[in-house]
Symmetry: C2
Subunit: 99 residues, 2 copies
Amino acid sequence: MHEKPIRIVARVVSRTDKTGELRSVLIALVAPTRRETGCLCYDLLQNQSDPTDFTFVEEWESNTALESHLNSDHLKAAAGRFPELLAEELDIRRYDTIE
Amino acid sequence: MHEKPIRIVARVVSRTDKTGELRSVLIALVAPTRRETGCLCYDLLQNQSDPTDFTFVEEWESNTALESHLNSDHLKAAAGRFPELLAEELDIRRYDTIE
């Protein structure tokens, strides 16, 4: 069965004194994630007016590929650091492309 | 002077009874915006679990290009409809690409 691509916008908000540390943890995710099967886009952004707002803009070939990413060792390792680094709950939203 | 590209994540939240109408207004923005000078990406997404959450993922060549878009006739026409269609304040965030 052909699955449609999934777009993700994931916001990761840092504690104000942990911005540099979180930034390093998130940058380390990019290369291994881009090597994953079915990863079409995985870009890490930082808000120009609020450096605690990091946002991933992602595209995955299928739900299967996304689920595999969510269970990857590199993502689990990063998520293990989140309780000490994040100011808010991780906000992951799944989207369809309209246009 | 060379300006660096700007990434935008813009969330547009519909009133629950206006989702179809807002969707049409937003779709109508895509073609003319993609024809604007300096528009590198302008994708319209809809949240898979919350159809009132529309999100634009954008990339602009420069701040100048973005400001020109914000003053475009097609964006002003859409924004004129927002008071009757939106449930929340428009949330436009500007980002740098880290990776």
